[in-house]
Amino acid sequence: MITEEKRQIFIFLIFALALLAAPVFFRESYLLTVLVFIGIHTMLAVALNLLMGYAGQISLGHAAFFGLGAYLSGILTTRFGLDPWLVIILAALCAAVVAFVIGFPILKLKGHYLAMATLGFGIIIYIVFNETVDWTGGPSGLSSIPSLQIGTIIFDSDLYNYYLVWIITLCVMLLSINLSQSRIGRALRAVHDSEVAARVMGINAWFLKVQIFTVSAFISAVAGSLYAHALTFISPASFGFNFSVELVTMVVVGGLGSIYGSFLGAAILTVLPEFLRVFEDFDVVIYGLLLIIMNMFMPGGLISGLEMLAQKVVLKIKKKRHADA
């Protein structure tokens, strides 16, 4: 009998190997670029899922942390010539500090009020990106951000960026899976299910929510820095309210409270618009319809839809075997 833990390590290894081998089959530069985006979006969706799927707290302003990472990396490397790797850590720490400070008042709020507060935060940061033209370049964006570099390897090709982004994303996923199955993960889910019972069990719900908000912001900022270095150009439009909503959609479509679900959600929502280009003007309509259909038939997200499908197939095979015998 294989233990649950070994089964999970096995699944993760297969998943990681499949992703690391993917460039062998997808040599086209365009496809690799899409896969790099899926990686960055997965990281963001996992970060938001820790907050939404596990702790049950919504954020409609997560693009702001993504943007903070991207802009801090962009500004500190182009204008101050700081080491990009150092800046990634600095930027992530900055975003974490911001999240920690605003988290205390914001996470006292619940439900719609929390949604409003995070929405407001996201919009404020977006305005800052747009208006501080001297620093961020304003609406026309910030260009010529240097590529990352280790020794003589410069991450300026799609293939290098693919490996860079996905190795970090896989680490984030593994650490998140570990976290979700630990004492902290259980405490987060407890707060989600019944905050009052969680508190009676000795969990400081408020502080725990602030902590996971901070961790989530940290990961989002790392994704932002990688995005800035991979694209070498950023503009405020990528970090606005629309993108915050898209992140929430990724988490919900993929499956709340599932790390692999976040990958599925990120993958589908990144790839779908590309495929729907053939429909030209109708792409948005079909996109919307598909989202509605997915949510209607798989309310637990794609991941639980897949699980249910797998169970049905197994059941059918068993029945057939039974009938044959």
Partner: protein
């Protein structure tokens, strides 16, 4: 052990509790009874930090715990169960009890994410210890079931197992027998007695008079927000004021 001094609680113009004082002896089973609306659950909510009182103080072993939030009280060994059973529905029975061991473990975000050796040892301890508490109430066989799929009687036992996992000094149970059939109530009585044997003080609010008279050593009667009587089951049963309150005589 637990002392409540002159607690008053008003909701707007309504006085739910008025100048209620009581004390609970260490290692005893104390019952709080009274007609509907007497303020029993309000009193529990104040003691356990879910409500703040308008006036008065609460002491736990001489320490003033008035205005402490529930998470701090859990660390001091005071825990409660709920009238409507507050379980973590999306989690398994086993995981529910593991959450009860939150105060008995201390791995933080970092050691949990990186699975440091200390965390792995602690996780093993949590799994074993939580199984012990499931055994204690006799529901270890359903450890892997999802908590929101449980029949009501089992979810009551689960809530008690989870509370015991904190290794509390005192457990407050809000109507533990509500919704249970007579067989389940007997089972519950046996569990409560065994909790007492562990040296844990038990306070319960209860409507099931047979259960209260059977297991409680001291009974406190509340009526209309005031303390009416305190004594042994026999004394309380013979108290004319109590009889009047329950039967509605003048």
């Amino acid at each position: 052990m637990l002392k409540v001094n002159n607690i008053t609680k008003t909701f707007g113009g309504l006085t739910a509790l008025e100048d209620v004082s009581l004390s609970v002896c260490r290692g005893s089973i104390t019952g709080i009874i009274g007609p509907n609306g007497a303020g029993k659950t309000t009193l529990f909510n104040i003691i356990t930090g879910l409500y703040t009182q308008s006036a008065g103080e609460v002491f736990l072993e001489g320490k003033n715990i008035s205005y402490f939030p529930p998470e701090t009280l859990a660390g001091l060994g005071l825990v409660r169960t709920f009238q409507n059973v507050e379980l973590f529905g999306q989690m398994t029975v086993w995981e529910n009890v593991m959450v009860g061991l939150h105060t008995k473990s201390r791995s933080g975000f970092f050691s949990c994410a990186f699975k440091l050796p200390r965390q792995i040892r602690e996780e093993k301890f949590i799994r074993e210890k939580s199984m012990h508490w499931l055994d204690f109430t006799g529901i270890a066989d359903i450890a892997r079931m999802r908590a929101d799929n449980l029949p009501f009687g089992k979810s009551r036992l689960l809530e008690i197992s989870r509370a015991l996992a904190l290794e509390p000094r005192i457990v407050l149970m809000d109507e533990p027998a509500a919704g249970l059939n007579s067989r389940e109530t007997l089972q519950l009585a046996a569990v409560i007695r065994r909790i007492k044997e562990l040296g844990i003080t038990v306070v319960l609010v209860e409507h099931d008079m047979d259960l209260v008279m059977d297991i409680c050593e001291v009974i406190i009667v509340l009526n209309l927000g005031k303390k009416l009587a305190q004594g042994t089951p026999r004394e309380v049963q013979e108290n004319p004021e109590v009889i009047a309150a329950y039967l509605g005589e003048d």
